[in-house]
Amino acid sequence: MSMLTRRRSEARQTARDLAPKRPRTRRRSFWIGVAFASPFIVGFLGLFAYPILASGYYSFTDFNLFQSPDWVGLDNYEQMANDDVFWKSLANTLVLAVMGVPLTIAIALGGAHLLNTPIKGQPLYRAVIYLPSIIPIVVGGYLWRWLLNTQYGFVNYFLSWFGISGPSWLQEPDWTKPAIVLVVLWTVGGTMIIYLAALKDVPHELYEAASIDGAGPWRRFLNVTWPTVSPVTLFQVIVCLIAYLQIFTEPYVLAQERLNNISSGPDQSMLTYAMYLYQNAFVYLKMGYASAMAWVLFIVTLIVTLVVLASSKRWVHYGSK
């Protein structure tokens, strides 16, 4: 034992003698702290940790919600590999993500530039752009069902001004995905507002310097704006991608049929992964299969996110580096 440590332990001993009650008080205050944190702890354990672990267990069982689960090993995962509808739903979801994410980013960034221009009434425009984001998705979805209606819808009426005869958005398998993306893009205001905040953070001197160097608007965007907001773009891409991989409400509402029968649009073109998962869980009562699907989605999401993060080294620039 070195001199130093001995001194330390002696000091500790002295401290203990001087204040014999302290450790107990500390332990007590720890438990009091836990008690006050208990709403969160109970909520986290009961509403997050337990369901997540339970779904992992159920994914290896045949479980119908009412009777006790039967262990079936990897059956659910094997069945998934051979289930055409599963693959179709995964493909539909990926197509939506590939269409939707770049469009969302482009429109949000473009719109943020417009909202950043110093013109009269700007706060009003910002509010209007954000408005659809606070409308419940189900309400918006029903609204869009009418807007997209072939006979009475305003979308096709609007297109007719330009001599375009609009498609049957919700009845033609090739047009249902653009329709879903359109409905999702309606709430692009949320993403746009985040970009607006990011744009306001771009140092003005950089634009000045670029202008002095003779850079036009496009150059300034490419060499100043884009790299500076790239960390925000990374965040937006990941959030948006996850949202698309889990997309449920918009296609569910757009595909809905009379009496709320199970429906997935013409040629199952609106059947997203989350919708098929929901059907298995709550219509067919195949909770085991649905749990397995949820875990596969989790892994797919994780992989996609990691790929995006890995790629970010090439295109995301942090100011500090």
Partner: protein, 429 residues
């Protein structure tokens, strides 16, 4: 010392309060009401809403006034998911509820529904009076798990004006139907359909009904039989005589522009469809939505003389969940709802067929136009129902997708139904 004791106990007290509050919050949803002395309170949760719920409430009031041992409280809760999940806990949230015939087997197999056989006996419910095709769906493993309060059958409705103009008589055979469809389908100069010979209320219902009409069967004791010869013939008939007649793309365009079901823009109500296969509820809504429409209804045309009066029967059912704490009282109320007078009042207001065949002759239904055609079909030996087996929901989804492929011209009858057959191997057993 006194001071420190005081502080500790106060913190401890606060801690206890915090834990207790959390526990109370967590448990708030789980508490059930205790039974006081006096009448038993029964909760009747039903999927009906709006005017239908209002009729039901008057029936509940009548029951409550008729005796003083049971008080029924009705709750309109038109949410099947909620209904199903609330039956998974040990403490039931309702004692009696309603659903549809095709779900009985699936729910019974999962242990959700209480068997009714002993109550049918104790309450003297005359089971033989009920429409046989509807009763088939009510049993699972030899026990009865639900009883129908209203039933539905499907028939061929036609627009008299359009048939007269085209000089077509209401068809009685499938060949005549094919002929009528051809004569009644009108396309404009650009080839677009302006009037369709036969519309389609719901492809799955229309084609499964036609399957029965061609002598097919959608399942047997071993499970789904989508590739039964009659089924293939029926789907093939529809493809040749309805889809190919105008072309799948053209038909899809027409369907895309159809108005909402049973609204004034509904293609049958607006005169854009000359015929349609649909249930008796259309009679009630026709008088409201399209009072000027001159329409008639006839049996579904027969493919062969033995298949006359073929139809599909579906039903609205009542059941008692396994987790009800008052099954005996619920059975008493169930028997009341199924008694002839109450059933008549209920089905009449909804424009539905009564589940008791003895009521079919009642004069009360005389005001509903053409009601007898649907009613008579209930007692027909060719009235059939889809199986209510546990795999029902998955089977109907796959059939729907297969029919959709045929109607879109992406597949043919045999290929599409073969696909369903291959899917059926992964069904819940």
């Amino acid at each position: 010392m006194k001071n420190s004791f005081f502080t500790t106990s106060r913190s401890r007290r606060l801690g206890v309060i915090a834990i207790a509050t959390t526990a109370a919050l967590a448990l708030a949803g789980c508490s059930g009401g205790g039974d006081a002395d006096g009448p038993t309170t029964l909760k009747f949760s039903y999927l009906w809403s709006g005017p239908e719920a209002e009729v039901l409430e008057t029936i509940i009031d009548d029951f409550n006034d008729s005796q003083d041992e049971i008080v029924v409280k009705g709750v309109s809760s038109p949410d099947q998911q909620k209904q199903l999940t609330s039956m998974s806990s040990s403490n039931g949230s309702f004692d009696i509820s309603d659903n549809f015939g095709e779900n009985v087997g699936s729910w019974a197999a999962k242990g959700v529904l209480a068997p009714l056989d002993e109550y049918i006996e104790s309450e003297n419910i005359d089971i033989d009076d009920f429409a046989p095709a509807a009763l088939e769906q009510m049993t699972h493993d030899g026990q009865t798990y639900a009883l129908p309060i209203a039933v539905h059958s499907f028939q061929l409705l036609y627009n008299k004006t359009l048939l007269d103009e085209a000089g077509v008589e209401p068809p009685t055979t499938m060949d005549e139907l094919a002929d009528a469809v051809e004569k009644l389908t009108v396309t404009d100069d650009s080839g677009k359909i302006s009037q369709i010979g036969i519309g389609d209320a719901n492809t799955t219902t229309t084609l499964t009904t036609l399957g029965f009409a061609f002598g097919g069967s959608w399942s047997d004791e071993n499970g789904p039989t989508p590739t039964d010869a009659g089924n293939i013939e029926a789907v093939d008939w529809w493809q040749k005589n309805v889809v190919d007649l105008v072309g799948a793309d053209n038909l899809a365009d027409f369907k895309a522009g159809e108005g909402q079901y049973l609204s004034a823009e509904d293609s049958f109500f607006s005169g854009k469809a000359a015929m349609i296969i649909d249930g008796e509820w259309r009679a009630a809504s026709a008088s409201e939505v399209a009072p000027d429409l001159d329409w008639g209804v006839t049996s579904i045309p027969a493919a062969t003389p033995e298949l006359e009066n073929s139809t599909q029967v579906t039903s609205s059912t009542l059941f008692i969940p396994t987790n009800s704490k008052h099954k005996d009282e619920a059975a008493q109320f169930l028997a009341y709802l199924l008694s002839p007078e109450v059933m008549e009042k209920f089905s009449l207001t909804l424009g539905n067929l009564p589940a008791r065949t003895s009521l079919l002759d009642s004069d009360a239904y005389g005001d509903l136009p053409n009601f007898e055609v649907w009613g008579d079909a209930l007692t027909s030996p060719n009235a059939q129902s889809l199986s209510s087996a546990p795999y029902g929901a998955e089977y109907q989804t796959d059939l729907g997708n297969a029919f959709d492929d045929v109607v879109r011209g992406k597949s043919n009858a045999e290929k599409a139904l073969d696909y369903v057959k291959s899917r059926s191997k992964s069904y819940t057993s």
